[in-house]
């Protein structure tokens, strides 16, 4: 960098700090020399989802920094480097290890620290705060030697933290000073319902308790003594009683601070020294600090624009509405939740059986929505938030906004049309309705495509239903109907075809065409129908007419290669194979001159088999105890496993045993696309299960199930759908998941894209598959059981059926092999000859 470059130093690499860097990079300020001081030993991670660390996520999973980010951007990162002092006159920052860096612009994103109430004994061992991954690691270690844990603080973070303790398997208590939980966001009645729901989950709640001292306990490590004279004994304590801005650098250097702390900033995120900016939780705007990520991100955007020379970008405050799921309980709070606006009135609905509470606060004239509280069910959050933020006119009977819809009568919807173009639909990534509509107009006509190009719905996913509404309304407005018709022969989507086949008990393509289609069919609808027939009825895929529907791979039960030869992949469940098995595979490969390679799915691929060789090859493999590996099918491929507790000194459970069991259960299942599993015996995750459609990781108390992961072209981490399952529960949930995918996915749609386009996302999947919201779970289980019960090794059936076997020939009128298939040798094995090698080889053959 030249000396004329603008030197930018960022202090703090948390979520907001990193957002600032991303924005800065996008703006591509020429000749900017950017240095980042990060106090923690690791780069920015997702603190919003910190509690998932206890549900199996690793520090790497939570990282927000794309690999190579700093190198690509040309930014300098100093990890473990805390800014200790600023010299405003010299414009330098000095780190605690004595390095002094000059700056032209200094950006403070120091965040906040957890507030620990001044309680005698709070510094004892096994007392923690909940902020960093190091805190969590310490909690985890203490949790392993504790029976009972207490969280001090019943706010949003406190309840998150209680979930973490519960995930650690501790008897969990929440101690709150106020008379109710989440006192900031919900009212008394909402707090009551929230409390009973949380208690039903096994967390004990103690409100109006003021801890005065922590001493030695009798039955546990500590005794917490309360002001009312009662006490509670516990092995560990986590303080989560709020956060305070980290403004000490400002105070030391005489920068202005807010009335209640925080580094004072103007609308452009500038502090009282124009060379210094502050963003995120450490900043105080009009004496207000913001403990949510969205306003922090907004400040990051504004600060970056400032530095890029955009003097217009201004912060205008932030909406503090929140929606979250605490231990499975929906809680949402919008605007004036407590009804503090003069003259306002409220509507309340409470259902003590289902434990649902909803309240809306409307203006004195009844025309505008001011605020809302939702507990137990927050489906209306998106609609209500938009109404409140955009000042939309309320319907004549606003109570129907929160009353349950009766007799199929539709709720007065918001209608995406009602929203102005400026309405912010995705608050995490600041995407407006206008931007979404523009992207739809440019051809992003699926949720997946919209996420990719606008980032709407890509962070927390809460706005995806609303994004879908906006997208559909815009499509309708543009007169674009997105037909999901499979092809010209069937005016139906794959999902619709599936239902027609299952409900109509259709078993042949001829029948299907006659009843629902036209023409002769094609290479799209034929394999799709064949796959649905297999999922529903599971007849032998080469039986009669079914054979004519199969893609070459399924017709010859092998994967076609570029030269027209096929690969042979025997199943090796869980990647386990005996020496005898390996020898048998090796002998077959040697005898038929096949190229052999180990696959990523923990088995052996044999390449270069000509069609007429396939039956004989498989006869020998079957005699050696092998089965078809379905490598050729849109079907279950492999269940990869690590060696697990049987051998591994870290293993928690028998991952290989489970992998074999699962592979044998689901082998042969035909699906919209291929399906891969992984089973890891502990959180080290050596089987890379979170990159699979179905990933399973052993825990101390059972198995965690992850779904919809993918490696390959567009990697996607699988998401935890259920934790600590026993084996029966695990299998039941996988049965349901797979059958639901088979039933509803599009043709050639992997589980990851299916999930990305699923309205309602993971919550919807959980509702359908765990809470049985559609009432289909037992049906899904039965359908899977049918597939399991009717499994057959396709190769075994093929070689024993003379009608099928005779199809494996190169020429119908000549017994010879295809002379055009030519191999050359490379590294001791065969490979297909390249074009330039062919004539020589062919001539050589002729001469021979």
């Amino acid at each position: 960098m030249s000396d004329t470059s603008m030197k930018i130093v960022l202090v703090g690499h948390g979520m907001v700090g990193h957002k600032f860097l991303e924005e800065l990079r996008q703006l591509q300020i020429p000749a900017a020399d950017v240095t980042v001081l990060c106090e923690e030993p690791r780069v920015a991670y997702d603190r919003v989802h910190l509690s998932e660390f206890f549900a199996g996520k690793t520090a790497e999973d939570l990282s927000l920094v794309a690999p190579g980010f700093f190198d690509d951007a040309g930014f300098t990162l100093r990890l473990g480097s805390r800014a200790a002092a600023i010299d405003r006159r010299a414009r330098t920052v000095t780190t605690q290890d004595g390095v002094t860096l000059p700056y032209d612009k200094l950006v403070l994103a120091t965040g906040s620290y957890p507030f620990v109430p001044p309680v005698k004994g709070s510094e004892r061992e096994h007392c923690f705060v909940y902020r960093t991954i190091e805190d969590l690691e310490a909690m985890k270690a203490a949790g392993a030697i504790s029976r009972k844990g207490v969280v001090v603080g019943g706010g949003l973070l406190g309840l998150e933290c209680a979930k973490a303790l519960r995930d650690l398997g501790l008897e969990t208590h929440v101690v709150e000073f106020a008379p109710r939980l989440m006192a900031v966001q919900v009212d008394d009645e909402g707090g009551r319902i929230l409390r009973s729901k949380i208690e039903a989950l096994g967390v004990q709640v103690h409100t109006e308790r003021n801890t005065v001292e922590i001493t030695d306990g009798r039955s546990a490590r500590h005794r917490m003594v309360f002001a009312d004279g009662t006490h509670l004994e516990t092995d560990m304590i986590v303080f989560s009683a709020g956060i305070r801005p980290r403004d000490e650098l400002a105070r030391q250097n005489a920068l202005a601070v807010g009335a209640r702390g925080g580094i004072a900033v103007d609308d452009h995120c500038r502090t009282s020294d124009p060379a210094i900016l502050a963003i995120g939780e450490c900043a105080a705007w009009r004496d207000q600090t913001f403990g949510l990520v969205a306003p922090g991100y907004e400040m990051a955007r504004i600060a970056a624009r400032q530095l890029a020379g955009d003097a217009q970008a201004a912060f205008g405050g932030a909406d503090m509405s929140t929606k979250l799921k605490l231990m499975g309980v929906d809680v949402a709070s919008i605007g004036d939740a407590h009804g503090r606006t003069p003259g306002c009135r409220s509507f309340r609905y409470a259902d003590e059986c289902k434990q649902i509470y909803k309240k809306i606060v409307v203006s004195a004239d009844g025309k505008r929505l001011l605020g809302a509280v939702l507990v137990g069910n927050a489906d209306e959050y998106g609609t209500l938030l938009q109404m409140a933020l955009n000042g939309l006119a309320l319907p004549a009977d606003p109570e129907f906004l929160i009353l349950p819809a009766g007799d199929g009568k539709a709720r007065p919807g918001l209608g995406a049309d009602a929203l102005p173009d400026s309405a912010q639909i995705c608050s995490c990534n600041n995407v407006s309705k206008g931007q979404i509509c523009a992207a739809v107009g440019d051809g992003a006509t699926t949720i997946g495509a919209l996420k990719a190009c606008t980032k709407a719905g890509a962070t927390c996913g809460g706005c995806v239903p609303l994004v879908t509404q906006v997208m559909n309304a815009e499509l309708a407005r543009l007169g674009m109907t997105v037909t999901r018709h499979l092809c010209e022969h069937f005016p139906y989507s794959r999902q619709e075809l599936y239902h027609l086949i299952r409900v109509g008990e259709i078993r042949s393509f001829e029948d299907l065409l006659a009843r629902h289609g036209q023409g002769l069919g094609c290479d799209i609808c034929k394999p799709t129908a064949a796959s649905i027939f297999a999922s529903c009825w599971n007849d032998f895929v080469l039986k009669g007419e079914l054979a004519s529907l199969q893609d070459s791979n399924d017709y010859f039960l092998g994967n076609i290669q570029k030269d027209g030869t096929y690969s042979v992949v025997p199943r090796m469940p869980g990647g386990e194979v005996t020496p005898e098995g390996l020898i048998a595979v090796g002998q077959v490969a040697k005898k038929y001159g096949l190229y052999t390679k180990i696959t990523g799915g923990q088995r052996v691929d044999l390449f270069g088999a000509r069609v007429e060789q396939l039956p004989a090859i498989w006869e020998e493999l079957i005699a050696a105890g092998f089965e078809s590996g379905h490598a050729y099918g849109k079907a279950l491929r492999t269940v990869k496993s690590c060696v697990g507790s049987t051998w591994c000194r870290y293993g928690v459970d028998d991952s290989v045993g489970l992998a074999i069991e699962l592979e044998n259960r689901y082998k042969g299942l035909r699906a919209p696309h291929k399906i891969k599993f992984g089973v890891s015996g502990c959180t080290r995750e050596c089987a890379e299960a979170q990159g699979k459609d179905i990933g399973i990781i052993a825990t101390e108390r059972g198995w965690n199930l992850y779904v919809c992961g993918n490696g390959g072209m567009k990697p996607r981490h699988a998401e935890l759908i259920a934790a600590d399952l026993d084996k029966a529960g695990l299998v039941r949930l996988i049965d349901r998941f797979l059958m639901f995918y088979v039933r509803t996915a599009d043709r050639l749609q992997r589980t990851s894209t299916w999930r990305d386009n699923l309205e309602g996302g993971l919550d919807y999947l959980k509702a359908v598959l765990i809470d049985d919201s559609l009432g289909i779970c037992s049906e899904l289980e039965q359908q899977m059981q049918h597939v399991v019960d009717t499994y057959q090794c396709e190769w075994k059936t093929a070689i024993t059926d003379p009608e099928v076997r005779k199809r494996f020939r190169t020429f119908i009128n000549d017994p010879r092999a295809d002379q055009r298939i030519v191999f050359v040798e490379e590294r001791g094995q065969i490979r297909p000859a390249r074009a330039e090698e062919r004539p020589i080889v062919e001539n050589a053959e002729v001469e021979a």
Binding site: L520, D523, F556, I560, D563, G564, I812, P815, R820
Partner: protein, 120 residues
């Protein structure tokens, strides 16, 4: 399989070769026949429609077109190459996606349950 029989069968100067029985081809599929040293894909559409085109897929050079799925795209009766899914018209050999990859179409007919092919 007996060696291929060849016989003149029409007034045109076509050399017809009997390649198999109709029953040897599963309806809605194809087979590959060796006709005068040339690889020919012979398809059976419905009960008795017979069509023949070259079996070599021009894009890959592999002898595979008989192993593709057949059907129709609009007016075209087609086979989709099993390798790259290009569609070939069974009557003309035209490649619908990449015309320069078109193949030769041959004559095919049915006589007394026997399938005959003549190179065009």
């Amino acid at each position: 399989m007996s060696p291929a029989r060849t016989a003149p069968m029409s007034s045109e100067e076509l050399k017809w070769t009997a390649v198999c029985k109709l029953g040897d081809i599963l309806p809605g599929t194809g087979v590959c026949a060796l006709v005068e040293g040339r690889h020919v894909a012979v398809f059976r559409i419905g009960d008795s429609g017979i069509h023949a085109i070259d079996n070599i897929d021009p894009r890959s050079g592999a002898s595979v077109l008989s192993r593709g799925l057949v059907g129709n795209l609009g007016e075209h009766l087609v086979v989709a190459s099993p390798l790259y899914k290009n569609h070939f018209d069974l009557r003309t050999g035209e490649c619908l996606e990449v015309p320069e990859h078109s193949v030769r179409a041959h004559r095919a007919r049915l006589r007394d349950d026997e399938v005959w092919v003549a190179l065009a």
